[in-house]
Amino acid sequence: MNEDGLKDYISSLISKNIRIDGRSLLDYRKPIKIELNVSKNAEGSARVIMGETEVIAGVKMNIGEPFPDTPDEGVLMVGAELLPLSSPEFEPGPPNPQATELARVIDRGIRESGMIDVKKLCIKKGELVWMVFLDIYTINDDGNLIDASALASVVALRNTVLPKIEGDKVLFGEHTKEKLPLKKAPLTCTLVKIKDKIIVDPSLKEEKVMDARLSVAVSENNEINALQKGGDKGISIEDIEKMFDIATEKTKELRKHLH
């Protein structure tokens, strides 16, 4: 179907408050499945399945020099790959703008919320700190990679244990029982506007016909730590306010999956 035909079809259903897969406008896909320890060689890892979207996230740690402007803080690096195996539209090669955006949006949510207690990751000020490498890989793209990746990342980090060190060397493959020091857990809710309706957790087809998208990262105290608008059309301040309210409520629901 041409994009206009699909868009008209999706909007006509949405105006009756149902979506093409039968969900209501503000429902996340079910079930949301979370699996821990996808890789035993990771310091922490998780798989998240939302409907048919599937992503995995893994954490590796190392020790190294801190950044010069934060000599007593651990380092966080977030990467994301849109694996070609997860969609006919992804090609092999270095991260394209979409993959880079995904990594940076997840990074912002985690960094700005202060999720990781980076001060506790300092081993020797100015010389040696813990470095946290979070890598996200898409396994099947059926829309809303951002929310699935954010959830997988938070679960992976919450299940990360520090590797053993001997002097200034990490003993890769050997883990302590000490968990990564964390303070908060930001979760992301992505909302999409199609014509004049707002829906959450867009599936692939809905993403293809969307007018605008807003991803909102919210932590436990209802503070918004990251925002990212996507899509080719603009949104009004009323829309944004509505979206904040929905995101706050939805992330509370998603948070239940963390336990």
Partner: protein, 235 residues
């Protein structure tokens, strides 16, 4: 002297194997394969358009393979992106599968295979080939037979089947030989060696490889059929 295997297996015993087909919905074919602690997934897309045009072959389709490891699949983090090792493995993987395929029905197109290692404990390229073969069948690509692959080698003074990481790293010497065989034939489509073995040892190892591949082949067949059986059970 290598008297007992690190995980107490017999010399001709493989690690535990698990296989599942159809795990990536957007792919034309896909599979998951686990042998011991090595876990890989593979997806097939195709036949699909092939660019640049000079790569197109008007007589048959092209097979293209990419092997990749996640950064957290290994204990010492792997930097994302292809390296020399993964490029070589991608090539030998393609060569191990091509002899089993008939791509004459798909001129000017490409069949893409993507293999991703989720957790590595040696034998990843072999696991990748096993997963890729199932994914190709799942994608409906005509094949002579499924391709199975396993590593064999010499650890200390013993010829063994399916080396794990501890055996590959054995300080008293270890030789690793990945082998791929087409189904129930004797056709070997992958053969590499990294170490120090004489001719008799290699031939003995190849006999072990045949045994291992035959066991894997049964598991691959079962996994492909199970995809349709489970619908039957849900009835």
């Amino acid at each position: 002297m290598y008297s007992k295997r690190f995980d107490n297996r017999k010399l001709d015993e493989t690690r535990e194997i698990e296989a599942k087909v159809g795990i990536i919905k957007r792919a034309d074919g896909s599979a998951y394969f686990r042998i011991g602690d090595t876990k890989v997934i593979a997806a097939v897309y195709g036949p699909r358009e092939l660019y640049p045009v000079f790569l197109q072959n008007p007589e048959k389709g092209l097979l293209r393979c990419v092997y990749d490891m996640t950064s957290f699949s290994v204990t010492d983090r792997k930097r994302p992106g292809p390296n020399r090792r993964s490029i070589e493995i991608s090539l030998v993987t393609e060569k191990s599968l091509l002899p089993a395929l008939d791509l004459s029905q798909f001129p000017n197109t490409v069949i893409d295979i993507f293999i991703e290692v989720i957790q590595a404990d040696a034998g990843t390229r072999c696991a990748g080939i096993c997963a890729a073969a199932m994914a190709l069948a799942d994608a409906g690509i005509p094949m002579k037979d499924l391709v199975a692959a396993i590593s064999v080698g010499k650890v200390g003074d013993k010829i063994v089947l399916d080396l794990n990481k501890d055996e590959e790293d054995y300080e008293e010497g270890s030789t690793d030989m990945p082998v791929a065989i087409i189904g129930n034939t004797e056709e070997i489509t992958l053969l590499q060696l990294d170490g120090d073995m004489n001719k008799e040892e290699i031939l003995e190892a190849l006999r072990l490889a045949k045994k291992g591949c035959s066991e894997i082949h049964k598991i691959q067949k079962k996994a492909l059929k199970e995809k349709y059986m489970s619908v039957k059970e849900n009835e």
